[in-house]
Structure formats: C-alpha cells, structure tokens
C-alpha cells in the first residue's frame, strides 16, 4: 500500500520540482501531462492493493474513489491546460515565467490533495488540504489583474481563517483522542479514532465538529462561508477553476466526511446529520437564487458548484445507504461534469474573448460543437438524463421523500430554482444571432468528451464493480 500511496503523492511533488527548472512552456506542459498521467496510473494501482490503515496513510473504499477521481480529473485537466495555457501565452495574458510556476504549482497542488486524501493522520490531512488551498490562492491570482488579486486576497483571508478554525477543531479531536488513546500519534490517527469513537468524550467531539464544519466547510464552499469561491473561480485561469470545483471542494468534503464518521460513530455525540442537512440546504437554495443575477459565465458555474456541494452535503446529512450512495455518486459526477463545463467555458471564453454572458450569443450558430458541449454540460449538471447526475438526484430526492416527505421539498425547491436560472443563461448563450468576436477553438476538446462520455455512461450503466464499491463506501460512511 505504502508504495502506491507514496507514488500517488510523490510523483506530483517530484515533478513539481522538475517543472520549476524547465523554461519551455511546451515541454513543461508536456511534462505536466506526463506526470499527471503517471499519477493517474498510480491512483489506479490503488485498486489492486490491500486496503489497510497505517500510521500515516490509509486506503479504504471511501478514499480510493476520491483518489482515482482526483487523479483522473487532474490528468484530463492537465491535457486541457496544456492547450489552454498555450493560448493564454499567445494572447499575452501569461508570461513563460509564470507558466513555469503554473505547472509546478499545479503538480504540487495535486500532490497536496492526494496527500490529504490518503492521510490517516488528521494533522496530515489538515496539512495537505491547507497546502493545496494556499497553492490555489497563488494560482487564482496568477493573471495579476486587480480583479484577480482581489479574488486571491479574499480567498486567502477567508481560507486562512478557515484553516485556523479547522486546526482548532483538529486540536479538540486530538484532546478527545488523547484521553482515550494516550498521547502522541494514536490520538491523531483517524482509523484508531474512528474505531474507538465510542470511548471518546462526546461533548468534546461536538465542539470539535463545529469548528471542523466551519473550517472545512469554508473550503467546501458552504454558504455562508462561500464568499471566496465565486470570485476565485471567475478570476483564475480556467483549468484552475476546473480543478477547484472538480477536486478541491471534494477534498474538503472528504475531510468533513472523515470527521463526520468519527462523530457519528459515537452514540452520545450530536448527530451531524441535521447540521449538515441545514447547511447543505442553505447553500443549495442560496446558490440557486444567486444564479439568476450572474453575469460572468465562470461565476455562474461557480455558484452552481456551491449549489451542488450543498446537495451533496445534504445527502450525506440524510445518511443511510441510499443517500450516501447517491451523495458519493453525485460527488463523482459533479466533479467530472463541472470540470467538463469549465473546459467548455474556457473554450467559449477564448472563442468569444469574453466571460460576460451578455456578450455570448448564438453559440449554436457560430460554434455548434461548443454549444452542444455546453448544453450537454449544463443538462448533465442539472440532473437531466441521460447523464449520471439524474441517477444521483433521483436517489436523493426519492429516498428523502420516502423518509420525510416535507424535508424533500427543500432540495427540490432549490434544484428547480437553480435549473430555471441555468436554463435561462444557457438559452441566452446558445440561441439568437451571434454577436462579437468569434475565433476558432484551438484547445483540446478530448478531456471534455472524455468527461461527458463517462458521465453519460454513468447515467446509463454503472458497472456492478463500481456500484458495489460505491455501496461498500456508503456502508462505511453510514
């Protein structure tokens, strides 16, 4: 296990170091793709290893899913990014020096996320997540426009406060563990904490969970802690937006879930469910309303990420086999779809030289392929068939309704409001007479096709292997 894990973490970090030395952006972009491909392969190799929990690292059904998703989207994003950044250099928005750091940081960020995902030590988890956050802060500000710096700064401040609160929560968990498991490492080892959860001090766990929820919830983008998210998505380079929405939010959610598992394993501790349900619903409904006022295409989809994170958190808050299954599925689908959407948005923004929705018109006339991609993405994310999110939303809504009918009205309300806004904007962009500049799209559309293809297949047919794996994971999350 250790070998695979260290590959998953090590390859990106090592490659990051190498990247800082390569001046040519073509070469570094290629190296980036190569390294991410290798990481993805290493991620896949985790499927074959025995699942076990070491002192520092753990591999179980839950995080294999996250790691593979992470490395896959990282890989495809690196492919997208290679062509995207090329275009940015041509238009002069980025200089080669920055690109060199860009690739290094991209890899380091991936490594940090993998670290967080495989960590069995709650301190290490924290370190990985925070490292990834800080790197993305820098990447968000990479264009150095006033708006980008503003966004990065906001992200930085809010992120740092989040970091601090999460750390305080981690201290509290340690204190709880220390009483039961003794001082030092064991009290920070997740698998031990979880196994002995019943022996921990319930009220300390409660307090810790509050801090962790606020701290990591900031990273997940739960309202009202979301403020950094839309701007960070909108002002950074599009590959970063894709990775932020597709991966970083997941990693933060993963951290939250791990702690939820500890707290939920203690019979006397608060039930994290209702808290997560409320937070999830607030995010979902709030983001849904916010969608109506968006004028920037990337901000639009950033709010949609908040919405979906809200839905996922709601699902995990509901708990139980079906809801957890749906939550995991939705999370995976959301990652794939949202990053695909950002790929398309990147293409669109480059083709139309703008991110303003009002300036993007008649895509279906001027760029039919892009229009189909965008429409497919929006429909996929809105939970329409034949895409995978339909299955997860189907499960979330039906199982919620079966358990408490009135509660089900809230997520459905949010989803419908959001769908109305998304469709409105989509139609605005697809139809009518094209206006403004119109370039040919040069960036690779392979990642887009791959993601949407996977999402489509997931909507039609979940291989029994994958389904069984999701089921075991949701069993663990129970």
């Amino acid at each position: 296990m250790i070998a695979s894990v260290s590959l998953v973490i090590g390859i990106p970090f090592a490659a990051a170091l190498v990247m800082t030395l390569i001046p040519s952006y073509r070469l570094s972009a290629f190296g980036n793709v190569l390294a991410m491909g290798a990481t993805f392969a290493a991620g896949l190799s985790l499927l074959g290893v025995t699942q076990e929990a070491g002192t520092y690292f753990i591999i179980d059904d839950v995080n294999i899913l996250f790691v593979i998703l992470n490395t896959l989207v990282g890989f495809t994003t690196s492919v997208f990014s290679a062509s995207y950044i090329g275009h940015e250099i041509e238009t002069g928005r980025l200089t080669p020096l920055f690109v060199r750091f860009y690739h290094a940081m991209f890899l380091a960020m991936m490594g940090a996320m993998n670290l967080a995902l495989t960590a069995n030590n709650i301190g290490l988890l924290w370190v990985g997540l925070e490292l990834a956050t800080l790197i993305t802060v820098v990447m968000v500000g990479i264009y150095r426009t006033p708006a980008a710096i503003e966004a990065a700064w906001k992200y930085f401040i809010l992120g740092s406060v989040g970091i601090s609160l999460a750390f305080f929560g981690t201290i509290l968990i340690y204190l709880a563990g220390q009483a039961a498991l003794g001082e030092g490492m064991p009290a920070m080892t997740w698998s031990l904490l979880q196994a002995n959860a019943a022996k921990l001090d319930a009220s300390l766990l409660n307090l810790a969970f509050i801090f962790l929820l606020i701290g990591y919830g900031t990273k997940v983008g739960l309202a009202p802690l979301h403020a950094w998210l839309p701007d960070a998505h909108a002002e950074g380079p599009t590959p970063i937006s894709a990775v932020l929405s597709g991966l970083l939010l997941n990693v933060a959610l993963y951290a939250l879930l791990r702690f939820k598992m500890i707290v939920a394993a203690h019979p006397a501790a608060i039930d994290p469910g209702p808290v997560m349900i409320v937070m999830g619903l607030i995010s979902l409904i709030f983001a849904a309303f916010m969608l109506y006022q968006r004028r920037d295409i990337k901000r639009l989809f950033a709010y949609s990420s908040i919405e979906h994170m809200g839905l996922i958190v709601f699902a995990f808050g509901m708990g139980g086999m079906l809801a957890n299954f749906a939550g995991l599925l939705h999370m995976a689908i959301h990652s794939l779809t949202k990053s695909a959407i950002f790929f398309t948005v990147g293409h669109v923004a480059q083709a139309k030289e703008t991110q303003r929705i009002a300036d993007i018109r008649g895509l279906s006339v001027s760029h039919p392929a892009l229009a189909i991609g965008l429409a497919a993405g929006v429909f996929a994310i809105s939970g329409l068939p034949p895409f995978g999110a339909f299955m997860s939303e189907f499960l979330i809504v039906t199982t919620t309704f079966a358990r408490s009918p009135w509660l089900a009205l809230f997520p459905v309300f949010g989803l419908l409001i959001a769908f109305g806004a998304m469709l409105l904007r989509l139609q605005d962009m697809l139809f009518g007479e094209p206006v403004g500049p119109s370039h040919r799209v040069k960036a690779s559309s392979l990642p887009l096709v791959l993601h949407l293809g996977l999402v489509l297949i997931a909507g039609l047919y979940l291989p029994p292997h994958l389904a069984g794996w999701l089921e075991r994971a949701s069993e663990l999350l129970k």
């Binding site: 609160l165 606020i214 009202p224 309303f289 916010m290 034949p386 079966a402 769908f419 139609q427 697809l430």
Partner: protein
C-alpha cells in the same frame, strides 16, 4: 397474471426504439445528408413499433425483460403489457404520421439539423417511457422525452418567444419530474424498491397515497396540461415545427395520461372514492378553461394547444369517473368511464395530430398562423381544407366522427352517477356533466371559428391569397389521420375490442362486446336496453338522406347556377378587412364568458367628429393562472435573488462576519443544547 420473459413483440418495440435512437445518433453525429435518413427510418421504426403494439394488444401478450442497466440495485425493467401497448399504438401512429409529414417538410424546406435528430430521439423516448417498468427508467425516459421536445421547441431559436417558450416548458417539465420523483419515492418506500412489480406489492399509508396522488397530478398533470398547470403548453406546442407540435399535443400528452393511469390505476392499488376528486375537478376545469382560452385566442397553433388542454380535461374526467365507479363497486360504469378515457386518448391523438399537421400546411403555405392574416384557403389548399374539416368535425364531437364516440361514452358514464354511494360524488357528477356539455358546445364554436377564419371567406393577407397547397407526403400524413378519425368514429367496436383486456384489468369488467347491440357495429354502454349508438347506421342514414335530397332537388329543381358578387344585404364591400375576423367572431363569447374568467374589458377610443385619428377598440385580458402561478412566482424569485445578490458585493470584512456569525450561532446552539 405474471408476464412472460422477452417475447418477439417486446423485441420489436425495443428494436423500434433502437431504430429511432440510431437515427437520432447518426443524424446528430454526422449531420448533413444523414439527416435525410431520419424520417424514412422513423417511418420504418414507427411501423414496426405500431405493428408490435397492435399485435400485443390483440394477442393480449404481456412480456418483460430485465437488463443489468440503470439503477444498480434495481436494474432496468422493461415490460410490454396491454396498457403500454395501447399507448404505444397511440404514440407510434402519431410518429408515423408526423414522420410522413416530415418527409414532405424535408422535400420542401430542406434538412434541419435542429429538428431531425431530436425528432427521432423524441420518438424513442416516448416509446421508452411506455415500456419502462421501474421508477428510474420511467423517469429517465420521461425526462429524456422532455429534453428532446425542448430541443424541438427551440429549434427556431431566433424568435425570442420560442426561447421563452422553451424555458418555461423545460422548467415546468423539470418541476413535473421532481413531482414524479416524490411519487416514486413514496411508492418505493424507505427500502427503495424501485421496480414497478415491487411497488404493486407495497401498501402505502393514506398520507403517502395522498402525497402520491398530488405528485401525480402535478407531475403527469402538468405534462398533460391540466389546468392550472397548463401554462407551458400553449407556449411550447406552437413553437415547435408543426409535425412536432402534432406529436407534442397529440401524443406526448397521452404519454402523460399513461403515466397517470400507470401510477394511479396500477401501482397505487385499489382506489378509494376520494382519489377521483382531483381528476374530476381539475378535468372539468381544464375542459372549460381550455376552450375559453382557445376560443379567444388569435393564433391558430396556440388555439390548438389550448384545445388540447380541454381534451386532456375530458380524459381526466373519464379517469376520475372510472376511479369513482371502481371504488364504489360499480364495475360496469367504471368500464364505460375507462373506455371513454382511453378512447378519447386514442381519438384525440388522431384528430389533434391531423389539425396540427393541417395548421402546419397553412403555416408553410402562407407563412402565417395568426387568424388575422388568413382566410379563403379552401380555394388555395383544397385537400388540406377538406381533411381539416374532418379534424374539425372530430374534435367538435360531431357524429359520425371519432371524437363523438368518446364523448358519448363519457356522458353515459356520467349518467351512472346517481348510483354513487357518496353524496359528494353524486353532487359532482352532474356538475361535471354540465361542464362537459358546455365544453362540447364551446368546442364546436371554437372550431367553427377557426375553420371559418382560416379556410373560408376571403384572404386577409397577400400571403394567404397566394398560398400553396401542401405537398404529397404532407397530404398523405393528414389523409392517414383523417381516415383513422372516420374509422374510429364508425367502427368504434373495434377500438373497444382492443381495449377490453385493459378494461378487465383496470375497471374490473369489460364493455359489452361487439354484437351485443342491435347490429354488430352498435356501441353499447352498460346494457343494450340502456344506451346504444350506431355510427354506421347513422352514417348510412346521412348518406341516404343527403343523396335523396340532392337527387330530388336536382331532378325537380332548376339546375341553373349563376356566379355573382356577394349580396350582403346590398352592401358588399370589396375589402376583405370587412369580413368578420376571429376576434369579432369571439366577441359575443367574450362578453358572455370573458369578464368572469379573464377579467376581460374593452376600452373604446372614439375620436370627436372632425378628428382625423382612427377610432380604437382595445380588449384586455388577464390570464389569472399565468399571473398567479408563473408571473408572480417568477417575479418573487427574481426580486429575492436581487435582494440576496447583495451578498456578492460585500467587503471581505463582512464575509468574515458572516463566517464568524455562523460559528457563533453553532457554538451558541452547542452551549444551549448539549
């Protein structure tokens, strides 16, 4: 009665779906010349599927298939039973006609990559809904159906109205789907038994049943167009190309009806009397409201869409009565009501498709679909005019056409109402009957108005004066449907024979079989002594008396005929503008019904003598349903979003404050609670 495993018939349907799907895929992926393949392929698919459905109905076959797809724990269940086959027949005949018409469109207007692929997808999705036998695949294909038709609605995307229609449509469709999600959530229970077979075994509590019913009304009802959830329908149906409008209005609403029947009659178990209430009330309201909208509308295709609302109302009343009779143990009456609902579904799919295709011919011939720009087309489009007349007679429920058959059955069902053990139903059934009677009369007025303004009189615009007749495939498509309308009107015993197994299953007993009445073709409701209707005899009578009169008059009378200017009380005016328009035709009706229903008001601006400005008459309507259920909520969503949007522009300090407040609130909760 447990279904057999996969049979050739089910395979035929799946094959047809595959054909549709393949056509959509190829056309969508390749485009260009591949688009030309869509309609021929769809014709083949529709013929295959319709044949399969018919054979399944006649042979009473019941086949199922389970595939390891879809929801992992449940799998994909497909089942072709009588109900699926019956509605499959409706769908595929509609698709057949629309595809034949589409051939003509291709020939006339060239290929359209925004229409052809989605047409085939739409057809595939509708078929899939019908054979889906688990909640997931049902809703999957249901929503796919919405999505495909959305693409068709926005096919002519440069018109902002169409875009608006598409938006309203798909959002309403999504709302409907979520309502159905609730339905299946309730039926599946906590354990998540999503297959229909498992749902039939479950016995939900009264609360769940009430919620499921509500969800069905909202979900399937909005798709079908029940008032007050109909608002998307007059927007979306006319926006699509006409042969798609025909499918949406004539066929897709039937798929929604299928959904209602499947859920309420099949999955929900034995009915209670109160289940019928929403169907009766909303159905009656739809029947009358739909026509009042229609009769006041000034757009040909929108008028047709509104009339669909009416017909769906009639079907819903039929279903409501069926539930009421069934729960009261009056199986014979339930059979009459059920057959009324089913036959009206079938009949409406034929004549509404015919009317929409005809409207398409008018639209393509003249480029206009507003009543004020049409007129006199009976001279320019003689065949279309004749076929449309058949549609008009059918939809106005005039004998011997098919619309009357289902209307007649429905009145027979109403007449069994006094036997209800429940006072509310005893009160409701005559009220519903009165509403139906009113709707029938309004339908006649509405379609006389439409036919009169579009086809009769003199052209009101230059375009109408030089209109061209539809081409051969288009006429063939309309002709097919017109023949079916006549067939369904004359030989309803055959259509009844088709649905007998369904009646046994869902009403408890069959209708009187063919030959139970005075002649083989007599339609008998409940018993021959009670009510009979014999369309062939009446048709024979009509022909005989018509011929006798004509011959007598021609034998006895002067045969001279002279063409001359119109008399018009001595003041014939050359300008076609002096004709009665659709609006003027509707004026008496507006005065009688409009004030109460739409708050209609007139404002006359009469200039003083000597003033040269023209006099003006403005008529205003208020669409209360649109105001209350669409404009107002949309306004609220927008203003709320505007209010919340301030949160996007706060300073970092304030964002921190939000975060801090969230933390403090949680801490306070922890301090107080634990």
């Amino acid at each position: 009665m447990s279904p057999e495993m996969a049979t050739p018939l089910l395979a035929a349907i799946i094959g047809a779906i595959a054909i549709y799907g393949l056509a959509a895929l190829l056309a969508g992926a390749i485009g260009g010349r591949a688009l030309a393949l869509v309609y021929p392929t769809a014709i083949a698919g529709a013929a295959l599927a319709a044949g399969g459905d018919l054979a399944a109905l006649v042979g009473q076959s019941d086949a199922m298939l389970q595939l390891p797809m879809g929801l992992p724990a449940t799998g994909l269940h497909l089942r072709l039973d009588g109900l699926s086959a019956f509605f499959g027949l409706i769908v595929n005949v509609g698709v057949l006609a629309a595809a034949i018409y589409g051939l003509g469109l291709d020939r006339e207007h060239g290929l359209n990559p925004r229409v052809e692929p989605f047409f085939a997808l739409f057809a595939a999705a509708m078929n899939l809904v019908l054979i889906a036998a688990d909640a997931f695949s049902f809703l999957f294909s249901w929503e796919l159906m919405s999505l495909a038709s959305w693409a068709l609605v926005v096919a002519r995307h440069d018109d902002a109205d169409n875009r608006h229609a598409g938006h309203v449509y798909l959002v309403m469709a999504a709302m409907g789907t979520t309502a159905l999600l609730f339905v299946f959530g309730g039926l599946a229970g906590i354990a998540g038994n999503y297959s229909f077979a498992a749902m039939r075994e479950a016995h939900p509590s009264v609360t769940v049943v009430a919620l499921v019913l509500t969800g069905t009304i909202v979900g399937a009802g909005s798709k079908a167009g029940l008032v007050p959830l109909h608002a998307w329908l007059p927007l979306a149906h006319p926006a699509a190309p006409s042969h798609v409008s025909a499918l949406m209005s004539g066929v897709m609403t039937k798929v929604a009806i299928y959904g209602m029947i499947r859920i309420v009659f099949d999955l929900l178990g034995a009915p209670s009397w109160w289940w019928s209430l929403p169907f009766l009330l909303l159905g009656a309201a739809s029947a009358v409201m739909g026509l009042l909208y229609a009769v006041l509308d000034r757009d040909l295709k929108r008028m047709l869409a509104y009339s669909t609302v009416e017909n769906v109302g009639i079907i819903s009343v039929g279903l409501g009565l069926a539930l009421a009779f069934k729960s009261s143990g009056l199986d014979a009456a339930a059979a009459v009501a059920t057959s009324a609902a089913l036959l009206h579904s079938l009949n409406h799919s034929w004549f509404k498709s015919l009317l929409f295709l005809g409207a398409g011919a008018v639209l393509h011939g003249t480029g206009r679909r507003d009543f004020d720009g049409l007129g006199g087309l009976i001279h320019r489009l003689p065949v279309t005019a004749a076929l449309w007349l058949v549609g008009v007679m059918s939809i106005a429920a005039l004998p011997p056409f098919n619309g009357f058959v289902s209307e007649w059955l429905l009145f027979q069902a109403v007449l069994a109402g006094p036997q209800f053990p429940y006072p509310i139903l005893r009160f409701l059934s005559p009220a519903v009957g009165a509403m139906l009677a009113l709707a029938a009369a309004l339908a006649a007025a509405c379609f006389v108005r439409a036919y009169g303004t579009v086809f009769l009189g003199r052209p009101r615009s230059p375009a109408a004066a030089v209109a061209r007749e539809a081409n051969r495939p288009q006429l063939a498509a309309m002709g097919l449907l017109a023949v079916l309308c006549l067939f369904g009107g004359l030989f309803s015993v055959f259509t009844i024979a088709l649905i007998q197994p369904l009646l046994v299953q869902y009403a408890g007993m069959p209708m009187a079989s063919a030959g139970a009445g005075p002649t083989f073709f007599s339609l008998v409701a409940i018993s021959a002594a009670r009510s009979t209707y014999d369309a062939p005899i009446i048709a024979l009578f009509l022909i005989v008396s018509g011929t006798v009169t004509t011959m007598a008059v021609h034998r006895l009378a002067a045969r001279r005929t002279r063409r001359s200017a119109a008399w018009d009380c001595g003041f014939p005016d050359a300008s076609p503008a002096t004709q009665y328009t659709a609006s003027s035709f509707a004026q008496p009706l507006r005065r009688v019904y409009g004030t109460a229903m739409f708050g209609s008001s007139e404002r006359v601006d009469m200039p003083e003598p000597g003033d040269l400005r023209p006099a003006r008459l403005d008529v205003r309507f208020v669409d209360y349903v649109w105001q209350g259920l669409h404009a107002a909520p949309a306004g609220m969503v927008l203003s709320l979003s505007e209010w919340l949007n301030r949160l996007q522009f706060l300073s970092i300090r304030r964002y921190l404050m939000l975060m801090f407040s969230a933390l403090i609130v949680l801490l306070l909760i922890a301090a107080v609670w634990f």
